[in-house]
Symmetry: C2
Subunit: 228 residues, 2 copies
DNA sequence: GTGTGGTGTATGGTATACCAAAGACCACAA
DNA sequence: TTGTGGTCTTTGGTATACCATACACCACAC
């Protein structure tokens, strides 16, 4: 059945070229193992421009944004480079994450509804301490989701936005370390205690547990993870 | 005495046009009372371009950055507007500030040297509880400096960077409210207790005091300050 | 008199041409 | 053979011309 209307082709998906370039670059960088020795960290503006099919201007705006977020570094007349975070920077990020998520937990005890907290509970209940090893992939996702859920329940948009920007880095570290040294088991226990504190509306305890949980990740990374 | 050398004029001050446009815009917005009823919140790209003497491209990049930082909002085909933060957003910012500064305080108890903490002490000692009213202007500055100093002692660059971005908004609120309802006196006491906790290397107490101090500001704003 | 449609204008968005600087490479001279 | 200089190439930086859209205003018809 042929269209009776003209039905002009949708040129873009509604997003600006800048936004699309930004998304494409971000996912490309995200899916790349930038710590491999042979990783090509140099980006070529003109090459990218051709490959995305957009001109350099919107591309540069997207790159400028990534630069500000710290994913790439633009050096005048030298090039654009994907940034390898130093270990110290990763540690700082995890520390900031701890500060923000623990504050979100504090807020959650004050502002989240019982039903919202109950939903959090179901996230935790899916994994018992001993079954975790059997379904690593799933737990790795569930682990991330749990932390994002707490942040959501804090109902502070700024915290959500800031952690979103850190997420890219923190996620990869969380996934990389969750199954080292029995950390998954410990994680299950921690999460369960956190939920209990939240449901008990125990503000101080919830805050402390979340902070300690994430700072433990920090210590683990400091001791055992090698970057650079 | 005429130059024997050619001595070509220094064209720029070394900064890129984008960076200069950014600085100029930021200070311009900072020094403007955007809450006045007759404030002109609309920015004209071409007009600004002429007034700064740069073309639209670097100007737009600067504006895009301000947009991302939330100082202005760019609406496609509508214009660029200076953002009036809503009260809710201000409250969220103060909350985030509390989370970050309290974490910085925690870190300071672990990583700051005795002499660094002693210097902090001198910042506090300049103002006794009853003399504060006499030199309001000075105290207002000292108050801000105190908080920045704690953040510096946390030695987490990311915390410093993030609070820097919030600073613009939080500073104006701090200055606006510090002399309401005897808050200055309370502030002096708080600061002194915070320094004591830091010097005693009492991590938990320092963190808690800083958090509570800033959350009190948050409550004060929520109750007594009218924006929008 | 009111409503609708079309046109004009202002404003961002995009593409492209050109500029400037830094580094690599090569030729030539000592 | 080695060092110095200049040039060429690569890359980002800047300016500008052009395009698309949203809104306002006005004319015309009902």
């Amino acid at each position: 059945m042929a269209d009776t209307q003209l039905n002009i082709a949708p040129i873009g998906e509604g997003l600006s070229l800048k936004a699309r370039a930004y998304d494409a670059l971000k996912t490309a960088i995200t899916n790349m193992n930038i710590y491999a020795d042979d990783a090509e960290l140099r980006l070529d503006e003109r090459d990218l421009s051709q490959r995305f099919g957009v001109s350099r201007t919107p591309l540069r705006e997207a790159l400028a944004q990534l630069d500000q977020e710290g994913l790439v570094k633009i050096v005048a007349r030298r090039g654009i480079f994907i940034v390898r975070k130093t270990k110290a920077e990763i540690l700082d990020m995890i520390t900031v994450w701890a500060a923000l998520e623990s504050m979100a937990a504090r807020l959650a005890t004050q502002h989240a509804s019982d039903s919202e907290l109950a939903r959090l509970h179901t996230l935790v209940d899916q994994f018992s301490q001993d079954k975790v090893a059997a379904k690593m992939g799933e737990y790795s996702d569930a682990n991330i989701k749990f932390h994002q859920a707490i942040i959501g329940l804090g109902k502070n948009q700024l915290i959500a936005d800031l952690t979103d920007k850190l997420f890219f880095h923190v996620r990869s570290i969380r996934q990389r370390t969750i199954f080292e040294q029995d950390r998954a088991k410990r994680s299950v226990v921690d999460h369960s205690e956190i939920v209990n504190a939240l449901e008990a509306r125990d503000t101080e305890r919830a805050e402390r547990l979340v902070r300690e949980h994430t700072l433990r990740l920090r210590d683990h990374v400091e001791r055992y993870v090698t970057l650079d």
